[in-house]
């Protein structure tokens, strides 16, 4: 009898002890292009800190609209630097917490092997019916694609062939189902082990368009949550940076 009581006490204290670090959960809104690295970072974050992160993926602009109308996200990883700035100005984010977590890389990609050459010359040559890109009004990768085409003097010629995804993930759907022969994506969507995993692609050299600054910010809803602040700290850690680079992103010079 005594032994049994002791047993329960031990079990109970062990259960309590495992919660001693006050493991908390934070709700993170993430731009679609960062889906793959984010999933890996979240797993590492949970392993390292004991906290956990619940992830929602979508278009950055949509998240801003939702956040300004009471969405419960605590951390926001945008695909650009303007959306976080706007949230701070409008009083929804904690001032001074914005930083660039990654520099985006644009890729011209096709599901068909050999279609896209490594100089992107196919853009000038043509021979395709649809060129997919993310809506430049909503998505930074769409803006970068338009800048590239304008710099090469191809925009007016290719404009009639353009089909637009609502975000970069939907753009990938159009291309991977073959409905658009090729299109502009984030490198992270098609990269595996440092190279383009399937189909064919041209990694657009930086400098052909304005840099894609991807910024994160702490939202006011998360200011008191230790998991939210820990998450942003973890995003800057060497462990996270290795994952970010692995998916083809650059990092801003400090």
């Amino acid at each position: 009898m005594r032994n049994k009581q002791l047993f329960y006490v031990v079990i109970l204290s062990w259960l309590l002890a495992s919660h001693a670090g006050y493991a908390a959960t934070t709700l993170v809104a993430v731009a679609s292009n960062f889906t793959k690295p984010m999933q890996e970072i979240a797993t590492a974050f949970e392993k390292t800190t004991g906290h956990s992160a619940n992830l929602s993926f979508g278009a950055s602009g949509k998240f801003v609209a939702q956040l300004e109308n009471g969405a419960p996200f605590e951390v926001f990883l945008s695909a650009d630097d303007k959306n976080p700035k706007k949230l701070e100005q409008d009083g929804f984010a904690v001032p001074g917490t914005q930083f660039t977590y990654a520099l985006g890389k644009l890729v011209l990609w096709s599901a068909t092997p050999g279609l896209v050459d490594d100089q992107g010359a196919i853009l000038g040559k043509g021979g395709f019916k649809h060129l997919a890109l993310a809506d430049p009004k909503l998505a930074p990768y769409g803006v970068a694609a338009v800048e590239l085409l304008q710099n090469q003097g191809l925009y007016d010629k290719l404009q009639p062939l353009m089909v637009q995804g609502e975000n970069i993930a939907q753009t990938q759907q159009f291309i991977s189902t073959g409905n658009a022969e090729l299109g502009f994506l984030a490198l992270s969507q098609v990269i595996d082990n440092g190279k383009i995993a399937s189909g064919s692609g041209w990694i657009v050299p930086t400098g052909k368009h304005k840099p894609i600054l991807q910024d994160a910010i702490l939202l006011k809803t998360g200011a008191e949550n230790p998991a939210a602040t820990a998450f942003l700290k973890f995003l800057k850690s060497p462990e996270a940076i290795v994952i970010i680079r692995k998916y083809g992103y650059d990092l801003a010079d400090k």
């Binding site: 278009a59 602009g61 949509k62 801003v64 609209a65 706007k86 019916k129 649809h130 997919a132 809506d135 009004k137 909503l138 353009m162 089909v163 637009q164 995804g165 609502e166 939907q170 759907q173 159009f174 189902t177 073959g178 409905n179 658009a180």
Partner: protein, 228 residues
């Protein structure tokens, strides 16, 4: 004020809805007639198939259409063989998607109307030596007029309100596939709330007026029982 781009999307939406409604009536009338009269054991399955878009998420329909109508899908290969190219990102593709998505709104009221008429008026017409086609046009059509009105209005209005399927197979091309619901979504995402309000408010007033017209002037019953 409405921008030129907004007006383009409105005009395009009206065209998609008008063409789809005509096609749905042409296609839906024989289907509804058959469903209202058949004793076939396939009736249950066919009723279920027709009603499927009512309960399926548009993302399911959009996903399958994107794959089936794409260059590697069976429909895509067929349309390519026929020299039509693939349907996603085209106006015709939108019409096909809209017809599939909204057809229960046309078939069900018609089916109810045909079932309510029953066989007696037709038998009477037959004894007067009217051909089946003649009796359909001169007996059934006038009697089923409220059913046709409801089917037309609901089919048209529902196509105007379509969003998910169009978003998935349309490709958001101004003047070709960017309909008003997608335009509203884009305005909201781009934080252009003023533009969004104009279009969204307009659609709200339109939809309410259509239903009001149906329930007050045409006195349609809001509850239909098509599968009795």
């Amino acid at each position: 004020m409405l921008t030129a781009a907004d007006i383009t999307t409105l005009w395009l939406t009206l065209r998609v809805a008008a063409i789809s409604t005509v096609l749905m009536l042409l296609l839906g009338t024989p289907i509804a007639w058959w469903l209202a009269h058949t004793q076939s054991r396939w009736k249950g399955i066919c009723n279920a198939l027709v009603a499927l878009p009512l309960v399926l998420p548009p993302s399911v329909l959009g996903f399958y259409l994107l794959i089936l109508m794409g260059p590697r899908g069976p429909i895509g290969q067929l349309t390519t063989e026929l020299g039509l190219g693939t349907l996603p990102f085209t106006f015709s593709g939108l019409v096909v998607a809209s017809v599939l998505y909204s057809i229960p709104f046309v078939v069900q009221p018609l089916q109810t109307a045909f079932a309510a008429i029953g066989n007696h008026p037709l038998e009477a017409a037959a004894t007067l030596r009217a051909s089946p086609l003649d009796s359909f046009f001169s007996v059934v059509m006038p009697l089923a007029r409220p059913g046709f009105l409801t089917a037309t209005i609901l089919g048209f209005a529902h196509t105007i309100g379509e969003f998910g399927v169009v978003l998935m197979v349309g490709g958001n091309i101004p003047g070709k596939t960017r309909v008003v619901s997608v335009q509203i979504y884009n305005h909201v995402e781009a934080l252009e709330y003023e533009q969004a309000h104009l279009l969204a408010g307009g659609l709200l007033v339109f939809s309410f007026s259509v239903l009001l017209l149906m329930y007050t002037i045409l006195k349609t019953s809001p509850v239909a029982h098509p599968f009795k």
